[in-house]
Symmetry: C2
Subunit: 327 residues, 2 copies
């Protein structure tokens, strides 16, 4: 059994490779919910949806998130109202009425369904299982927690932004001072999460943003402890390749938080949790720096832009993790 | 100035005639919000939207509500999830996850915008004004109240249904015992409502369902008193023609609540509030029964299915109301 700690796009592509390499029924994804948000009153879970849409073959491949064959009729109407009313997106936290969070019409169906079910008292993990079943996805997809957990970004210019405000509205083009998680003290792992970590042959930390994708997963009570208890079986895949994030602001965030944006910095970041770090061939010259952090280093292709790379990456992770003594 | 107490489709068609007959800036609509609902977490105001879309020329003319050129991509996705999960629409109050409440993609834009604004603390009346302005509608459209007011239907088989569950989910095909309004004791008229009634040359009660469209408007604190204070200037248009409602369950509801579904029954129903009742030519033989309720009777064409009828109806109402001594 393979368990993957997952954020959004990078993790989804890794998981797509995993189900090429092994039986989907053997794969569990534990997905970040720190960037979940209530947008226009709807419960939006971006990373869960990216993972499910990708595994279902329904994702927009160019963007890496959202639905293929999408339309934008609802949100265009929202923007028409906002423009007419002079609603200023930057005016206040939560002013999503300006339509800066782009929701496609098909994607809205998922948010509407999730919102209804949650208001009827169904936990996020159970609604997610319904959505996964509808799509015929074989991977078990678990939110890290059913409890409220939110990522907040403190900027150098003194603002406190929700993750989506930082990421979508500000295009992560703002210097950050710190990342805070609200709710992490009370958040308990969703049903099945701790067992999936304890029972896995290998636990993979997907090539997602360590700060705002993997960080909130690990912040849920008991998850970091469960992962570190399996350290010898835990394999992280570096989201930094050649000193930069393939997508998103991971490199910039790491730097602003005082961490070197390199595979060496990632090794140091994950050293308490992961016995192995998989790095890309372009970073092979840094393998000794990785190992000097007390982390075994595996070098392979990690850029999942060609067929076969993701599946080979899964196999490399499994080999690396299974090599080790039981953790 | 003309002030119209309004429900949905019938009132919207009347208002469309009013702006043909007189300057739109002279018209105020006070609209029912008793059948507002939270659907999938979104604030839905069906009567307000029907009035605005109709006046904007954006309504689906065949249905009489919703947007023309509409698509249903989001709600089809909701239904796919619900079917897969075996979500039973009739299982519980509020189980809108089954997708029985059909929301079009364009229409969703209105609900998303309204929901965002209300969560930001903007009252319904102010959001409605923004929506009206966006559409370039000249009529002033006021919700009866900014406070929560909800219509509940008690059925003979012992269920308590929200209005939308009764109307949309059950297709109003169920015998009712009573209609309850929750929140009416606390609900205050929205800004401008009482003045619009007091200052109008004529107040028209539109040909809407007296029980569940006009009833909730009148139940808001002070509105019924303000209307009855202008009784000689108040003109009701009968929603019953030839013993039947043109649309919807008004005839059936009146009967089940012990009121004769005829223009005579309507005259009795509105007698405390309206000095005049306008009835259709097909009911001319009942004029004396109307007048025996102490209500002056005007006979004209009231079925707004041909061009010009609605405008002529407005003119008939204005004449009828202005004829009277100041109320």
């Amino acid at each position: 059994m393979l368990t993957v700690l997952a954020g959004g796009v990078g993790a989804a592509r890794f998981l797509l490779g995993a189900v090429e390499a092994i039986d989907a029924a053997q794969v569990t994804a534990i997905v970040n919910v720190g960037d979940d948000a209530v947008i226009h009153g709807l419960d939006v879970s971006p990373d869960l949806d990216t993972v499910v849409y990708t595994l279902a073959g329904a994702v927009d491949e160019r963007r890496g998130w959202g639905r293929s064959d999408e339309s934008w009729r609802a949100i265009e109407q929202v923007r028409r109202y906002a423009e007419s009313a002079g609603v200023d997106a930057s005016a206040a936290v939560g002013n999503d009425a300006a339509g800066w969070f782009t929701l496609g019409d098909l994607d809205l169906g998922t948010h509407l369904y999730r919102s209804s079910r949650r208001r009827a008292g169904i936990p996020l993990s159970a609604v997610t299982a319904e959505i996964v079943r509808t799509w015929g996805v074989g991977v078990r997809v678990l939110p890290a927690t059913d409890d409220p957990l939110r990522t907040w970004i403190e900027t150098v210019d003194g603002r406190r932004l929700s993750f989506q405000e930082y990421f979508v509205r500000e295009h992560h083009d703002v210097e950050i001072r710190a990342v805070h998680l609200s709710g992490s003290d009370e958040a308990r792992p969703a049903p099945g999460v701790l067992d999936a970590i304890a029972d896995a042959e290998v636990v993979v930390i997907a090539p997602s943003n360590p700060v705002v994708s993997i960080g909130p997963v690990l912040a849920v009570g008991g998850i970091a402890q469960a992962v570190s208890a399996r350290r010898e079986r835990v394999v992280a895949v570096s989201p930094i390749v050649g000193g930069a994030a393939l997508k998103g602001p991971a490199d910039r965030m790491l730097r602003e938080l005082g961490c070197e944006p390199s595979v060496a910095g990632i090794a140091k970041w994950y050293a308490p949790l992961a016995g192995t770090l998989v790095i890309d061939a372009v970073d092979a010259h840094l393998a000794s720096r990785v190992e000097s952090e007390g982390v075994r280093c595996v070098v392979t292709d990690t850029v999942m832009d060609r067929p076969g790379v993701a599946a080979a990456l899964t196999r490399a992770c499994l080999e690396a993790g299974e090599d080790r003594s039981p953790g």
